[in-house]
């Protein structure tokens, strides 16, 4: 009987569910949302890339050595490890904003799967180039030093 009256009462009660998406659902202020990046503060140490569990951050590098930050919100698990690892306060930060849905036009994952190895490769290319330049420079230095020594020896011999 008690249940019966309760059931009748429930007919006139407000629903307990929220009318999402017309009404917002509960979201705490420090919700773990998108990762923000402030390029002017970054010191390009790439620590965030090293700690990120799913690999949602990657840096590419052009031949002048300038690095570019790439971030994929669809791969990110919003764990905040990158923010904790970043040595420069404010360069990386976690916002309370949930990630927007990815649209087909964005081609988010396929583009990322292409970009990721390319970014790594660009860095390797730069490193190889740097190494080559350094080796060239070292060779040139060595040649110059040898030439200098030779001329010194020669001058010593003539003296």
């Amino acid at each position: 009987m008690k249940t019966f009256f309760k059931a009748l009462g429930n007919l006139v009660k407000k629903p307990v569910t929220t009318k999402y998406p017309f009404e917002p659902t509960f979201k705490p202020d420090d919700y773990r949302g998108l990762i923000g990046f402030e390029e002017s503060l970054c010191i390009w140490c790439r620590r965030c890339e090293a700690v990120c569990p799913p690999g949602a951050i990657v840096f590419s590098q052009d031949m002048e050595g300038k690095q570019t930050y790439h971030y994929n919100r669809a791969v990110c698990i919003y764990c905040g490890e990158c923010v904790r690892a970043c040595p420069k306060e404010g360069a990386l930060f976690q916002t309370a904003e949930p990630a927007p849905c990815a649209l087909k036009e964005e081609n988010i994952n396929n583009a990322w799967n292409k970009l990721y190895p390319e970014a790594i490769e660009s860095r390797e290319l730069y490193a190889a180039e740097k190494k080559r330049k350094a080796a060239e420079k070292a060779a040139a230095d060595k040649a110059a030093a040898a030439a200098k020594k030779e001329s010194e020896d020669n001058s010593g011999a003539t003296a």
């Binding site: 705490p28 919700y31 700690v51 698990i77 919003y78 905040g80």
Partner: protein, 362 residues
């Protein structure tokens, strides 16, 4: 002897919450034999943890083993990694870990109870339980920043602090939940229709529970007092925050419901104690060491004892990680529990086991 029929249930079935497969041999609607297959969702997580991911990243990977007891997995892994690193974590971090584990237990137990009600044919109670469960999800979201994957325990401590206003809201919302829990207790205990489907159904004796090595609420409902929180004190100080063992004797679906409901009271008390006695201090112990040696850890997840083994070789990547989830220990008991029951009771019995197959198959 009547004619025997074999009835397959699963791996996908309307009454199943998880991908598992049972093959029942029935005779006159009575189950006389059961076969179980649980490995449908193997994802190779253990191998990934020992090859692709660095040991600090693994705590986020194992969190994805299971959506329901994510915090138990991350905490157990963090503890085993801390053993390998030979570090002691701050007391505040321990308390915060226990807080999340207990909040997680509240939502997990309520989920299981609601599914038992649903599978017993009591849809309205399912909805009511789910309605009351929502507060625990919101609290977890407020503390951890996410509803399901908490990513709260990390190697060395915890990743976020508990804000004072969040702590206040936990206390106040637990207060509003108390009368609701009393109401649920009353329904699950005294409702006559539910008792027809639950009392004396799927029973396991204490002797069987002991022989089959059951763990968690499943074993405690049969009267076997096993709870890791009662046995280990070194990693998380459970007794300090008011843990108390709960056991029942009948071992049927009804007493499994009772165990879960009574454990909710214990969990609520623990959460209140933790918030009132939260020690000050750091959240994390920093170290530059690498994991070395072997270690094991046991932790009481909502479904029972969770076991982690890890072996490190002084590099960034672990040599071996082994996860044994509570449901895996319970499979033998699950098969036994069906014996002699009506086939129509099987859904309620399955739900009352609270199986978590993605933990089991990893």
């Amino acid at each position: 002897m009547g004619k025997q029929y074999e009835i397959p249930v699963g791996a996908q079935h309307i009454a199943l919450l998880e991908p598992l497969h049972f093959k029942f041999t029935t005779e006159n609607e009575k189950i006389i034999n059961t076969d179980a297959n649980v490995y449908y969702v193997h994802r190779g997580i253990e191998l990934a943890c020992c090859s692709k991911f660095k040991f600090r990243q693994v705590s986020f990977v194992v969190g994805r083993v299971c959506g329901l007891c994510s915090i138990s997995h991350t905490t157990a892994y963090s503890q085993v990694a801390e053993k390998l690193l030979k570090i002691e974590i701050p007391r505040r971090a321990k308390y915060l870990r226990m807080l999340i584990i207990e909040l997680d237990r509240i939502h997990s137990h309520l989920l299981c109870l609601s599914h038992v009600a649903e599978n017993s044919g009591f849809e309205a109670l399912f909805m009511k339980t789910m309605q009351y469960r929502e507060f625990s999800m919101e609290l977890l979201e407020a503390v951890c920043g996410n509803r399901i994957q908490y990513d709260f325990s990390i190697v060395g401590g915890v990743s976020r602090d508990l804000k004072p206003q969040v702590a206040d809201s936990i206390i106040s919302r637990l207060k509003t939940f108390m009368p609701q829990l009393d109401e649920l207790m009353d329904i699950y205990k005294h409702n006559w229709t539910l008792s027809l489907k639950n009392k004396g159904v799927g029973a396991i004796t204490k002797q069987q529970a002991m022989e089959l090595n059951l763990v968690g609420p499943f074993a405690r409902a049969a009267g076997l007092a096993v709870d890791v929180r009662n046995e280990t004190e070194d990693l998380l100080p459970w007794k300090e925050v008011g843990f108390e063992m709960v056991t029942e004797t009948a071992g049927d679906v009804y007493s499994r419901n009772m165990i879960r409901l009574r454990e909710l009271y214990v969990s609520i008390r623990i959460v209140n104690n933790i918030i009132n006695g939260l020690p000050e201090g750091d959240l994390i112990t920093e170290t530059k060491a690498f994991p070395e040696g072997e270690a094991t850890v046991r932790l009481e997840a909502p479904r029972g004892e969770l076991f982690y083994y890890a072996k490190g070789n002084k590099t960034q990547v672990l040599e071996r990680l082994k996860i044994k989830a509570p449901t895996f220990s319970n499979v033998a008991g699950m098969v036994k529990g069906f014996e002699g029951n009506e086939y129509g009771s099987a859904p309620a019995i399955i739900a009352s086991y609270d199986p978590c197959l993605s933990c089991t198959a990893r």
